[in-house]
Amino acid sequence: MNMTSLINNYPEISIQTEDFDHGVEVNLLEKHNVEDGAVVTFSGRVRNNNLGLKVRGLFLEHYPDMTEKLLAEIIETAKQRWNIGRVKVIHRIGQLAIGEQIVFVGVTSKHRQDAFAANEFIMDFLKVKAPFWKKELTELGESWLEAKTSDKEKAQAWSK
């Protein structure tokens, strides 16, 4: 077990309405963590278009408690599969404007390959497993996003 995961007061998962600071999160991942030389982060923002339609904003709904449970399972699976140190997953909910941050995944490891793979794995499964739903406000009105086949395929590709 990695010593760094024993540090208290460092929740791995945060579902929140408020914004987060990318730099602060990276610093927390690296704080008192001189074993892990590599940190890979993913962050996703609200884009200004989707499938050719101009997007004005997003509304994010989730299933409280189940979200945290699912994310914890995904992180645990990643930790069993790769040699990684700390993990942080932040996902925002509620009303978000263009350009706002939606999601952050940070993973530390001794060797970069583990951090890259585990981070992408966590994102791929977050996309298809974690109970979040996006409603898009476009120039044509509001509509719930449909799940993408490509996301399903990405998640399935990990079991090959």
Binding site: Y63, M66, L70, H91, P131, F132, W133, K134, W144, A147
Partner: protein
């Protein structure tokens, strides 16, 4: 009683975030749907949508999964977070 909750598009289609049904004669997820449809005819159409997912006590399950009094049963469309 069994607690039933709905999310996202389904919540809007049903015009309802959640309800409760009696656990009497309701033993599986499929029977929860049936009971909900009997309680409210307008819901039947939306609840028979094949892409709907179901979780019992925060665990993804299929239609044959057993339910009992006190369970939380959630129905929702495929997830789209991240």
């Amino acid at each position: 009683m069994i607690k039933v909750i709905f999310f996202a598009a389904l919540r809007e289609e049903l015009g309802c975030g959640g309800t409760e049904i009696s656990a009497t004669n309701v033993n599986t997820v499929a029977e929860v749907k049936l009971a909900l449809g009997q309680q409210n005819n307008d819901w039947q159409h939306y609840l028979t949508n094949n892409s709907l997912l179901c979780a019992v006590n925060h665990q993804m399950v299929n239609r044959d999964f057993s339910v009992k009094a006190g369970d939380e049963v959630a129905f929702f469309p495929p997830v789209t977070g991240g």
